[in-house]
Symmetry: C2
Subunit: 322 residues, 2 copies
């Protein structure tokens, strides 16, 4: 699996960091999913192998502009590039009306259907949205406006036959095994009818990634985070700046999310959505300050995302930055 | 005067060209005017000396997304940067409702007032909008949706006393002349009351620039273009591609705008808004094709704009690319 960061700044873009956008796909696969779509997301995509014609689902975490103002332009460019396939958007219901108002005011005609799903109706329920290669579920978060996290659970891994179970059920090796491996229903010589799908084992456990929107209460994801391979979460400030700003912004500090990730035994943590006051280097506040604070509380594999970073999650759950 | 191009691509951005945006200011002055605001305009501004706190007026030529989808993010970033001064937007009335819908859907609170002026109410009339350093008037154009050009006429040039006229009116040199030069009303020894403003001559003639939105009928601006120093106009295609696409897109070709500029004796012509099918170099269609076609029909000073180009218009109307 691959995570491609399209924007890692909070609120406003900087020279080196765009506002929020994150692509997810099976490594090298053409279909992909976009989480958040700040202004300029389509510009960043020009520097990736991702194609607007193969974008299958957009998940928006909340209504703030730095997470959604890139939607109209991205949808328009997909149309201009000739897209005809339907596109699913999961997001706050208010954005559906806003997109309709945008299309009307700016005479924007898309040549493909939009299928809008209200994220609030999914939040905290067992329902999932089926995308190509992933099942998507939703976690409610805490922010100045309703905000959500998305959990992506891998589907469609290749399978092998469960030889032990075949032997235990007295199904002898032979041409039949080939049909069972293809998932077919088969009638045995003794009259039993068996389903190949009952004898298949996925080659690896489904990988799980949680990508969160803005959130000042990491405890809300602690339970689910315990079973994921990767958690992507905001760390807008260090705790010192968070204390100075008070509770108004409703963001997480590096300390608060790092403590939560440590307690939940998250194996891989990627932090993003940094306040523009943190520079990439030089004097004053830097991203390094956020990294050092997080590293103080969290001992797992930690990354601070940069724009156009590509992270590869291997089949055994190992995460590396390419 | 300076023109700073923030985007020179039509429809969608490319790796090297953003969608439409163009800044205008007195050379080195802090207040500035923005004409069109495609998605990513605020990102381009990060690479210029222009400050969102000193943006005084935004002029939008028409409602198509590549000319206005950058507005919400730019307005939001100005607010986050602490802007308190009112901001004037001149544009199609539909955009006022769209901005209101955007603010409501995305919980966007600006800390400064927006003053919206319907461009259609100004078009083709003698009315002008007063900005710092410029008077702005509007020209109706022809496109798939109502589209407009903006004429900027310089104001506020420094003045000198009209000595010939002072002498002709028997006003002798003395301390009085200093007061007249400051534009004061003065009572002469002989009882006459005169107004200094009647005896002031601007150091140079007001410079004029016309910046047009999308337009398939350059003849509409021929009359006004005859008196400008600089005309900025779209040249989306060469004529060969325009012929191939038919009249649907309602854009100008390099040939059609170059012919018009030649007939109107426009001294300086800057072309922009190039279809992404024209690359900056290499094989296939290139910007050079548009330049060569325009140069064939127009013998004045011709430039094909690139993103972040800065053009300087000197006091005598000479245009140079910095």
């Amino acid at each position: 699996m691959e995570l491609i960061f399209l924007g890692t700044s909070s609120g406003s873009p900087t020279k080196s960091r765009n506002v929020s956008g994150l692509a997810l796909r099976k490594s090298g696969a053409r279909p992909w999913i976009l989480v958040d779509c700040g202004e300029g997301t389509q510009h960043r995509l020009l520097h990736t192998p991702l194609s607007l014609s193969r974008l299958q689902t957009i998940c928006i975490t909340h209504v703030h502009g730095d997470h959604c103002y890139g939607l109209p332009g991205l949808l328009a460019s997909a149309a201009m590039a000739g897209r005809r396939a339907p596109l699913t958007i999961i997001g706050p219901a208010a954005l559906q009306g806003w997109l309709e108002a945008t299309q009307e005011a700016t005479h924007l005609t898309l040549g493909y259907p939009l299928h809008f799903i209200d994220v609030a109706a999914l939040a905290g329920r067992q329902d999932w949205v089926v995308a190509e290669g992933f099942n998507i579920t939703v976690l409610p978060l805490s922010h100045r406006v309703p905000s959500f996290g998305y959990e992506f659970v891998e589907t469609g891994q290749p399978c092998k036959l469960d030889v032990d179970r075949l032997k235990a059920d007295n199904i002898e090796p032979g041409p039949l095994w080939g049909r069972l491996q293809r998932g077919e229903r088969v009638t045995l010589a003794d009259g039993r009818v068996i389903d190949g799908r009952d004898y298949l084992l996925a080659l690896w456990a489904p990988r799980k990634v949680i990508i969160c929107g803005d959130n000042d209460n990491p405890a809300l994801i602690a339970e689910r985070a315990g079973s994921v391979d990767v958690l992507v979460h905001e760390a807008t400030f260090t705790q010192a700046i968070a204390n100075k700003l008070g509770t108004g912004p409703q963001h997480s500090s590096a300390m608060s999310i790092a403590q939560c990730a440590a307690e939940a035994s998250v194996p891989n943590l990627i932090l993003t959505h940094f306040s523009p006051r943190y520079k990439d280097g030089g004097a004053g506040l830097t991203i390094k300050d956020i990294e050092q604070e997080a590293g103080h509380y969290y001992g797992g594999i930690l990354f601070l995302a940069r724009d156009l970073d590509v992270f590869h999650l291997d089949r055994s759950g190992g995460l590396s930055r390419r």
